[in-house]
């Protein structure tokens, strides 16, 4: 009798385990914590400490919260819901509780692409945290929102392949970079080259061309990749985003903009000329100064983006 029971359990347990492994990547997250776990990078920190610490200082590490000092991205998500979705007749949102994944994707498409792997329950949890942050200044909500971000596994796995008919879907246990071989992580056991790791398109996929027409109600935020293509490259520029932001700046994974002195220094040639003289205008003689300020943009796109 006892033996029979054990066999019985064994039989159902085995197919379940296989099913869980095959379907594991597809099963959607039901809570913020589950979504964070699906893209867990705590192991990376152990072996790639320097890169991890660089990344932690970048805006990618708080991509739905925004700059540490302002939390502007979360605040703008709030405005989007309150003064966008809730005010538009045909959005299907009358109150914050009506917000679903489809209402957040027009922002999350770039700010949190892995939100596609979550259920509406996660959309609701995010909205509750955004309201708690904006309405009550809730510190815990600020912390929770910063757990959701563009981390190692977004650039080195999920979003490392763009042309899926050419290159295939990104594989679950592979770290995409420039090398091929074994990788000592317990989950991500192999390394494969991504054909775009050193190309502008890797960054361009989120850094915007113009209105995002794939949505029922298009959004437009960053349009910087558009100006890279049609203004920088068009005028003969040939550097990639990675060359300027990761190498020339010396900042590596701490990809930065105008906030950092390194980038501010790289941004412009700035030159001021001034002369003073008497200007004769009919009967009047007017002492005046002329100040000429010359600014040359040395970045790979327009300044500012917006």
């Amino acid at each position: 009798m006892r033996l029979k029971l054990i066999l019985f359990l064994f039989f159902i347990a085995l197919p379940l385990a296989v099913f869980a492994m095959q379907g594991g990547e597809r099963k959607k997250a039901n809570t913020i914590d589950e979504l964070v776990k699906m893209y867990d990078i705590s192991s990376c920190k152990v072996c790639h400490r320097d890169i991890y610490e660089q990344w932690e200082r970048s805006l990618h590490a708080r991509s739905i919260y925004g700059p540490e000092t302002t939390g502007r991205t979360a605040a703008t998500f709030w405005t989007t819901i309150t003064h966008g979705l809730m005010e538009w007749e045909h959005s299907g949102v009358k109150k914050p509780e009506d917000v679903r994944i489809e209402h957040l994707m027009p922002c999350a498409r770039c700010h949190l692409p892995q939100l596609e792997d979550a259920t509406d329950a996660v959309a609701q949890e995010i909205v509750r945290n955004i309201y708690a942050l904006v309405k009550e200044g809730d510190e815990n909500a600020a912390k929770t929102l910063q757990k959701l971000n563009i981390n190692c596994l977004i650039c080195h796995n999920r979003n490392a392949v763009i042309h899926k008919w050419v290159d295939g879907e990104p594989e679950p246990n592979v770290i995409y970079g420039t090398k091929k071989g074994a990788h000592p992580d317990a989950m991500f056991t192999a390394m494969k080259p991504s054909p775009i790791m050193g190309e502008a398109i890797l960054c361009g996929q989120c850094h915007g061309l113009g209105p995002m027409f794939e949505f029922d109600n298009p959004t437009q935020c960053a349009t910087l990749y558009g100006s890279y293509l049609w203004s920088y490259v068009a005028k003969g520029g040939s550097k990639t985003c990675q060359q300027c932001h990761m190498h020339k700046s010396g900042l590596g994974h701490n990809m930065q903009s105008y906030r950092s002195p390194e980038m501010a220094k790289m941004a412009l040639d700035f030159n001021v000329e001034a002369i003073a003289y008497y200007w004769r205008d009919g009967t009047r003689v007017i002492p005046q100064a002329t100040v000429e300020v010359k600014m040359k943009n040395k970045a790979g796109h327009v300044i500012p983006d917006g």
Partner: protein, 85 residues
């Protein structure tokens, strides 16, 4: 700053990414482009020396004090003659 159009229609600028769609006017500084801004300043009566401070600020949103970034500055001292024809 680029001036994005609200919902791709009309003459109103949109501010939030949820309402921007297009451009009404483009005033940003383009790559490789040199922009010259010229300022003519008249000396106040009986003043012959002037100190001009030029500051370039990047302001993502709001005011200089709240969220502004000083990129460059230059100081110039200018004088005009006190006598002459």
């Amino acid at each position: 700053m680029p001036i994005p159009q609200q919902f791709g229609r009309g003459d109103r600028m949109g501010r939030g990414p949820y309402e921007k769609s297009g451009l009404i006017r483009e005033t940003s500084l383009h790559p490789h482009e040199t922009r010259t801004e010229r300022f003519d300043i008249i000396f106040p009566p009986n003043i012959f020396d002037m100190n001009v401070e030029v500051e370039l600020w990047y302001m993502p949103y709001g005011t200089k004090e709240v969220d502004g970034f000083l990129w460059n500055r230059a100081d110039k001292t200018l004088s005009v003659s006190k006598t002459g024809k």
